[in-house]
Symmetry: C2
Subunit: 348 residues, 2 copies
Amino acid sequence: MTEQSATTNRQWRVKRYPATDEPVSNDLFDWVESPLPEPDDGEFLVRTLYLAPGPAMRGYLEPGHAGFFSTVPVGEVMRGRGIGEVVSSNHPDYQPGDIFVGSLGWQDYSVQTPRGKEFVFSTKKVEEPPEPLSLELGMLGQAGVTAYISLTEGGNIKAGDTVLISAAAGGVGSAAGQIAKALGAKRVVGLSSSTEKCAWLVDNLGLDAALNYRNDDFDAQLEQQFPDGIDVYLDSVGGEVLNTVLAHLAMHGRVAVCGFISTDYDPAAAAGPINYRHLLYKRGRMQGTVVFDHWERFGDIEAQLRAWHQSGDIKLCEDVTEGLVNMPQAVEDLFCGNNLGVKICKVA
Amino acid sequence: MTEQSATTNRQWRVKRYPATDEPVSNDLFDWVESPLPEPDDGEFLVRTLYLAPGPAMRGYLEPGHAGFFSTVPVGEVMRGRGIGEVVSSNHPDYQPGDIFVGSLGWQDYSVQTPRGKEFVFSTKKVEEPPEPLSLELGMLGQAGVTAYISLTEGGNIKAGDTVLISAAAGGVGSAAGQIAKALGAKRVVGLSSSTEKCAWLVDNLGLDAALNYRNDDFDAQLEQQFPDGIDVYLDSVGGEVLNTVLAHLAMHGRVAVCGFISTDYDPAAAAGPINYRHLLYKRGRMQGTVVFDHWERFGDIEAQLRAWHQSGDIKLCEDVTEGLVNMPQAVEDLFCGNNLGVKICKVA
């Protein structure tokens, strides 16, 4: 069944966990079609409209993962953040037609409470739904807030800073590049893996420059772009790119660590950044930031992001996968660098 | 000539730079015996009493070293911090018998000005010379101040923290362990490379425990010592020990980077710390601190160190090499972990 129905709940349930070097694919899941669940007192039923594929999802499938989330048990619906519409309700504050964002899972329908049934980023009724709704999952939601918090906490960004953004055409990256400009950075350069994406970063997102980290002269290009060094590096990638960048830190430069997607497949086989030595030479720092630690700032940041969106300082850039059936591939795409902007899966 | 003379200036001059894996030895230097230099107007002549061998000295002999000091040119007297006595003076504020600490070089006599002729840590007349004088070079001087600043800046140490000190029987390490206790750390554990040094750390320095990082069960022992993780790791060592320790960081743990002696010989061949990933999991940070950036704090810190020394909270622990002729070996000893406490070379 490829279309959402009003009577059947399509679900991706975890069948098994991937081997170390195995991509995320349909093979890891069972496609199940069930009856719609029934909300109890105080609960309501949400129909999924969009899901937000994220690299953390691979970690949900790794028992013993050292990260900050639990493994999804085999047999359960795969975890995933999404936005949807209330279709029936036994809660006085929720009416059919209300828009709800939270952990909906890889499925068409889920029973929810105002605080959600599971913790994944913020969970709430969206009082002023943006157009398109997917903005609430991406640029104005998790991607935007993550970028903002990483730049300001781990990166301690200041007006006039020079900023380098890893995976700049990705979800958090495409938000971060624009937000860094909006926060007054003097120069914002993005990293990406192809000439096409680099052109998109400059032409579409308005970054000052973009570099393909796969080029042989990447190190020399960094030197050219940052003759006085990099004040803030927002790093979601890790690996050899991080190592190269560390040697270009400015005095008192900051590396905001928010991921290491290049080594997520097999951390044990990856090389560590020996150029962390430059943290001493440059009196620099590397700091990990997790958005969940900063709940109290979410409201203000979301308001700021909406204001920037309205003024045109940050713009929508989404890469939409159509259909719940394609969620596994949408996640794998993130590891292949196949997206331009925030990855979104349109479910209905 | 093995004894200091009143008429001859013995010097170690740089002959050549070491190969990548070559130890520091007499082969790198020429032993020269010259007449005493003459101070000009505003200058004075200092007789070297003690020198402080330091691991940075190897870096002085590496052209293109990425650190924060210059290479000593071939043919020049080897750079080195020391303490000495003014023997003649053409400066109104300096009289024979005054004690002066600064960059004296690997030699018996040097011409100095109140600000010194070269920058190495602080340069000053010592108004209240401690007993023994070498304290001013070590526990109450560069080793103590470096330890204090690294613990408080990079480590952001707070009362009640759990603290791990690398190279804890070394110069900075033996100061840092005691200073961490004096600053109110709940638990201070030192790392060292032998059973004997570990016993010394507990019995003589009063650390809560000491671990031999060469033991096969080092990782398990860290877990046992720090079931709730490490709040502050003062790291002068780097390498595999750093990598192992990173996995034991407490939430919001800090790694104060002040050196990487285990990889100084050949950084290109060394593995980076892939466990920097725990900076994200634990919301931790690694930060490099260079004491020279914190001049303005030196006076207060030195006063605090003297007060702790007088109250018995920190005690003298020095490893003395006798004779200027043995300076090259004294530096190499630091890389072999052959010292207990602050390495000092007694010149006169």
